[in-house]
C-alpha cells in the first residue's frame, strides 16, 4: 500500500490555480522531490500535505486514511509528520537540546528517554557538543543540522522539506544534500523534498516531480528525467539541451542542416512539425568523416568557450543556419572556423512536446 496518496489535488486562489490537478503516490520509505521554478506551486503542495491549508478540491491520504479534503483537514499537529522550513524556524529561546527534544516532550516521553534520543540524534548530525548552545550562537549549517535532528528525532511518518538548503552557501549546500540523502538511507523516512535546484533533486531523490505553473510535467527517476524528458519544459529545466525542430516529409525528418530517416527516430507520427531534444554531451565531434550508424553532418565551429571541465562549442551545419551546442572533453580542441563533423546518434534524440 502507498504511504501517501495525493488525488487530483487543486489549490485555487480566486481564479488562479496555484496547484492544478496534482496526483502523486509515494511508496513507504520513498524520497520524492518536487522540482520547478519559483512560484510553480511547490510550497503550496507541501503545505497542503502538512495540513497547514485545505485543498480546494481533491484528497490526500496517508496509510489509506483520508487526511485532507476540501471539507475536512486533520490539523498538522495530528499528522505525525515533520517539516523542515526554509528559515529553519529554530526557536531562539530554546537551546539546541530543547529544540530537538520539543517534539518528544509533546509525545510525553520520559525525561530520560528524551535525553537518550536527543543525544543519539545529535550524534548522528554531529552536534552533540553544542547541545547547550542557543541558536543565535550557531552558524547557518549548524542550524540546518539542528532543524534536521529536530525533524527526524520524532520518527515521523512523513518528512517534508521546503528548500532547506537555499540559505546556505554553495559549498555547504553541496555537503548538506549528501547529508540529507545519508540520513534518509539510515532512517528510511518517507520524504517529500521541495527545491528549485535540479542537482539537489537529482542527488537526493528516488523520483522527481517536475512542476510548472501548478501542473505536473513529469514524474520519473532522475536518470529517466534526464535521458527521456517528455516535454520541452522538462528537457530545458533539467540540464542543458538543444531543441531541434524538424518536419516529417516522405519518410524523412528534415532538420536545420541535416535529415534523419523517419524509422531511426522515436515518436515520428503523422506529418508536420516535430520537436526533438538532443543533449550537447550526446553529440560527437570529429575532424574526419565518421563511419557507422550515426548521422554525420559536415559543419563549422562558429564559437567556443573553455569551462575547465569541458569545451562548449557552437557548431553550425554547413547546410544549416542555426548552430548546435556540443560539449566535449577538455582534450578535444578545435579552432573557430575549422571544418568538423557532427556525429549524431538518432536514438539519443528525444521527442518532446
Amino acid at each position: 500500500m502507498s504511504k501517501l496518496v495525493l488525488k487530483n489535488v487543486v489549490k485555487r486562489y480566486g481564479s488562479f490555480d496555484a496547484v492544478a490537478d496534482f496526483s502523486l503516490e509515494l511508496a513507504k520509505g520513498e524520497f520524492v522531490s518536487l522540482l520547478g521554478p519559483s512560484g510553480c506551486g511547490k510550497t503550496t503542495t507541501l503545505r497542503m500535505i502538512a495540513g497547514f491549508m485545505p485543498p480546494t478540491a481533491g484528497t490526500i491520504e496517508m496509510d489509506g486514511k483520508q487526511i485532507s479534503s476540501a471539507g475536512h483537514v486533520v490539523p498538522p499537529e495530528h499528522r505525525r509528520m515533520s517539516m523542515i522550513f526554509q528559515s529553519y524556524a529554530i526557536w531562539p529561546n530554546m537551546t539546541v537540546g530543547e529544540n530537538v527534544g520539543f517534539g518528544l516532550q509533546i509525545r510525553k516521553l520520559s525525561r530520560a528517554e528524551i535525553d537518550r534520543r536527543v543525544d543519539k540524534i545529535l550524534d548522528v548530525v554531529q552536534m552533540r557538543n553544542l547541545k547547550g548552545r542557543y541558536p543565535a550562537e550557531l552558524s547557518g549549517g549548524q542550524q540546518q543540522r539542528v532543524a534536521l535532528a529536530r525533524a527526524i528525532v520524532v520518527e515521523p511518518e512523513v518528512l517534508l522539506l521546503d528548500e532547506p538548503l537555499s540559505n546556505l552557501d554553495a559549498n555547504l549546500r553541496e555537503e548538506m544534500r549528501f547529508e540529507i540523502r545519508r540520513l534518509h538511507d539510515e532512517f528510511k523516512i518517507t520524504t517529500v523534498y521541495v527545491t528549485h535546484d535540479q542537482s539537489e533533486a537529482m542527488v537526493t531523490s528516488d523520483r522527481i516531480v517536475v512542476m510548472n505553473k501548478g501542473k505536473i510535467e513529469q514524474i520519473d527517476p532522475p536518470h529517466t528525467l534526464y535521458g527521456r524528458p517528455r516535454s520541452r519544459f522538462v528537457a530545458g529545466f533539467i540540464g542543458r539541451t538543444n531543441f531541434l525542430e524538424g518536419r516529417h516529409e516522405a519518410g524523412e525528418v528534415r532538420f536545420d542542416g541535416f535529415a534523419a530517416k523517419a524509422g531511426s527516430l522515436e515518436g515520428v507520427n503523422g506529418s508536420g512539425a516535430l520537436l526533438y531534444s538532443l543533449r550537447p554531451q550526446a553529440i560527437g565531434l570529429t575532424t574526419r568523416q565518421p563511419s557507422g550508424q550515426a548521422l554525420a553532418v559536415e559543419s563549422e565551429i562558429s564559437s567556443r568557450s573553455y569551462l575547465g571541465e569541458y569545451w562548449d562549442y557552437q557548431v553550425r551545419p554547413l547546410a544549416g543556419t542555426k548552430p548546435v551546442r556540443v560539449s566535449t572533453s577538455p582534450s578535444q580542441v578545435f579552432e573557430v572556423g575549422s571544418r568538423v563533423w557532427l556525429e549524431i546518434d538518432p536514438a539519443a534524440m528525444v521527442r518532446v512536446e
Binding site: P76, S87, W91, N93, F102, Y134, P135, A136, V154
Partner: protein, 577 residues
Amino acid sequence: MTATASTLDTAPARTARAGGFDSTWLLWIGIIAVLLFLVVSPFIYLVITSFQAERTGEFTFANYATAYGRARYVEALLNSLKLGAVSALLAGIFAVPLAWAVARTDMPGRGLTRMLVLATFITPPYTGAVAWILLAGPNAGWLNRFYTLLTGAEAGPFNIYSFSGLALVIALYSFPYIFIFTTAALELVSSEMEDAANILGAGPWRTMWRVTLPLALPAILGGLIICFLEAIALFGSPAMIAIPARFNVVTTQLFQFFGNPVRVEVAAAYAMPLLGITVLLVLVQRLMTHRKGFVALTGKGGERRPILLGRWRWVVFGYAMFVAALAVFLPYVFLLQSAFAKAWGRGFAWDNISLQNFRFVLFEHATAAKSVLNSFLYAGASATVAVFLTLGIAYIVARKLVPFGGVLGFLCVAPFVIPGVVLAIGFYAAYAPPPLSLYGTALILILAFTTRFLPVGYVNASAAIRSVNPEMEEAVRVLGGSRLTALRRVVTPLLKRNLLGAWLLIFIPATRELSAAIFLYGPNTKVASVMIFDMSEEGNFERLAALALILQVLTLPLLWVGQKALGRDFMLRRNAT
C-alpha cells in the same frame, strides 16, 4: 565655520595619534561642554543639593532625615510603587491581547485598532485624566449618571478619585508602550516558528504558550517596566486625582516640597529613590532584552501568515473596541461635549451648546492662548536643538572622529533614566541660583525639554547614520569634495526623512510636557500643559476641555506630515530604546 570644515576634513587620519592638541579636540570639548551643561551638571547638582543645608550650603544629612522622617512621606513613596505595579499590570491586560490580535491574527479592524492606539498615545495623560473625571467623578460623572438612570439606584458605583481610578487612568494612557514593544516582537516571530511547533504535534494553544509567548515575553516585560516607570514618574494625573482623593505619591509630594517656600534640598533628597528605581529597572530591562536566548533570528522565508481566529475574531475585535472605548471614544465624546457646553453638567441639550469656551480660551483669557504659543515655540526650539545636536554626535560617534566617542553616546541616552520631575529639580538646583538665574525663563524650559528628549533624538539619529553607507561619502571625497560637502550634499539629504521623523517624535511630546515644566515655568513662560493643570485646579472643565482639544487639533497636521514622510506607524514604532 571654516575652522570646523578643516577639522572635519582631517579628522579620521590624524586624531588617532595622541599628544597633539589639534582642532579635533576643540570639537570634542565643545560637544562635551554642551552635554555637561545639559545632562551632567543638573544631575550632579541634584545629588549635591540633596546633601546641602538650606541657605548655608553646608554638608548635611538633614534633608534625607526630613524627606523620610514622616510616615506620610514614606507612604507616598510606597503608594507610587503600588501605583506603578497596578497600572503596569492593567496596561498589560489592555495591551497584550491587542498587540497579539493586531500583529498575528485576522481580527477585523486591525488598522483601525492601530489608529486608535495611536490616538491614545497622543492623548496627554492629564487630558485623559480630565476626561475620566468627567466620566467617573462621583455623582456627576457621566458613567454614574447613566448607571443611576438605568438602574434607578441612588448613586453610581464609579469614583475616579481613588487609587484604582488613578491606576486605571494611568494604565489607559500608557498601554501603548506595551503595545508597541509587543507588536514589534511578535512581528519578528515568523509563522514558520509556529508551524514548526505545530507539525511536531503542538496544538495552537501549546504553540502559543511554548513558542510565541516566550519569544515576545522579554518585550512584554520591557513594556511593563516602561509603564511602571511612566506611572511612578507621572505628575499630572496623580495631581488631579490623588490629591482630591487624599493620598500622595512621590511626584505630588515632590510638588509640595516645591511649594511655598521652595525646599529644593529636601526635594532633591526625596527624589533619589525615584531616580534609583528608574536606573535599576532600565538596566534590568536592557539585560532582559539582550539575553542571548532571546535574540530573535531572522532569515529568508520568515513570512508571517495571520492566525485564523474563526468566530473568535469578533470576540477579540469586541475587546479591542472595549479598550478603545475606555481610552478614546468615551473620553473624547465627553471632552467635546464639555468643550462646547455652557455647563458640562447640563448634558446634551441644544441650548447648552456654545463656542464661548473656545472664544474665552483663545481671545479673552490673559495667558491661555499665549501658553499654547509658548508650548509650540519651546517644543520647536528644543526639537531643533536636540535633532541637530544628536545628529552631529551620532555622526561623530559612528565615524569615530574623536576618541572615546562612546562617552558622548552614553551621555545622550542617559536622560532616559531621569524622570521629568527629577530632571526639573536638577535643573532648578543647577541653574535657578545666580549667576545664571534661569528659573522661570524660556531658556530653562527649552534646555530641560532638550535634555528630556535627547535620548529619542540620539537613538533615531544613530540609527539613521548607520543606514548611510560610508562609501557614499567616500565617493564624494574621492571626487574631491570635503567631508563637509559630503555631509551637506549627501548625508543630510539622505537623512531628511529621518531627521523630520526625529524632530516630530520630540516636538509632539514636548508640546504636552508637564512633569518638568510645572517645576520650571515662570509667570511669562506658562505652557499649555501647565495652563490645563491650573484650570483643573480651578474646576474649570469646560474651558479646560476646549484648551485640551485645541492642543490635540494642532497636533493633527504634524501627525499627518509625519505619516506622509515616514509611513503610517511612525509614532508607534519602537523608538525609545
